[in-house]
């Protein structure tokens, strides 16, 4: 399991990436990230929701209450153009970081 300090920096990219596939509610965002990372990235409520609110405030996402087929109300998050614009530089930044780590710390498969 990855330490909290390391995970913190990954969360923005992880959230934007799963929302790129379509609008999702909070639980589903967390579940997809966990599933797609093979269980390595698992965010608590304390990590996930404040991050969603912060990203919403920056204009990267928009959260709206929606009523599902079951009649259950859920807050769905959609990626906004500004958030989509952030994805490319963020991915490049992380790729650069991984390349650097590979060279310096001999990290493999990064």
């Amino acid at each position: 399991m990855i330490r909290t300090e390391l995970k913190r920096g990954t969360a923005e990219l992880a959230v934007l990436s799963v929302l790129e596939e379509g609008p999702l509610h909070g639980y589903e965002i967390g579940r997809r990230i966990e599933e797609q990372s093979g269980g390595t990235l698992r965010y608590t409520l304390a990590a996930l929701y404040p991050l969603l609110y912060r990203m919403e405030h920056r204009g990267w996402l928009r959260g709206e209450w929606e009523t599902g087929e079951s009649g259950k109300r859920r807050r769905c998050y959609r990626l906004l153009p500004r958030g989509r614009k952030m994805l490319k530089p963020m991915r490049e930044e992380w790729a650069d970081l991984f390349r650097a780590l590979r060279r310096v710390a001999k990290v493999t498969h990064a």
Binding site: H25, Y27, T44, L45, A46, P50, Y53, H57
Partner: protein, 217 residues
């Protein structure tokens, strides 16, 4: 069925945000925990185990409360002060001090076509704009806030002109006797447009420096 509403309300306590927003946050957390719990139960976990795992996924409630308060209050007075007003005040003071130094040193302005150019002051403005932009960007300001803070001295002078000159022209002509529009244009160029360009150049260069630094890191 577990009472997740009671569980959340008891642990979340009162948030320091608008009542409606706090209710939305609580509702969202309740919905998350309910779904998490029912998924774990549907996977065949005993209720007690599913409950324990769901609770563990909440993390620290104290931390959650603190972070939600901070995230939801972003954009309030504290943020505006850090992102706009402090950097703006710094750029304004620095530009006034710069002008005072130039005047005290007895440096004469050059005056092509009535435009007054204090060159050393104009040359210092990009640095002042960059400093304001740096302070604003460090507080995670949006681009327009960074430019506003960096260009604030020119904007402040523009605001003074906008208030003063209509008054001088239409209300009391004794304020600026015999004033001409050509002189107003020259003054606007001297004290607003050229400083604005110089300050914005500093802001833009600071942005380039930051991007380069991020690429090199």
């Amino acid at each position: 069925m577990r009472d997740w509403r009671g569980y959340v309300e008891e642990r979340l306590g009162s948030l320091r945000i608008a009542h409606g927003e706090a209710e939305d946050v609580a509702a969202e957390l309740i919905e998350h925990l309910e779904e998490c719990y029912s998924v774990l139960c549907s996977k065949g976990l005993p209720e007690k185990e599913a409950y324990a795992q769901t609770c563990a996924r909440a993390g620290s409630w104290k931390e959650l409360r603190r972070r939600v308060n901070s995230a939801k209050r972003a954009g309030t007075m504290t943020d505006r002060v850090k992102q706009i007003w402090i950097p703006s005040l710094v750029t304004l003071l620095a530009s006034f001090i710069g002008m005072a130094v130039v005047l005290r040193a007895g440096i004469e302005p050059i005056q092509p076509r009535g435009v007054i150019l204090y060159l050393p002051w104009l040359l210092a403005l990009p640095l002042i704009g960059a400093a304001g932009a740096y302070l604003s960007r460090r507080a995670e300001a949006s681009r327009w806030r960074v430019y506003f803070a960096g260009a604030f001295p020119a904007l402040a002078i523009a605001a003074i002109f906008l208030v003063t000159f209509p008054f001088a022209f239409f209300v009391d002509s004794r304020v600026v006797p015999g004033f001409q529009f050509s002189a107003l244009a020259a003054m606007t160029v001297s004290w607003v447009i050229l400083p604005l360009i110089a300050l914005c150049t500093g802001v833009a260069l600071e942005g380039v420096r930051k991007t380069r630094a991020a690429t090199e890191t």
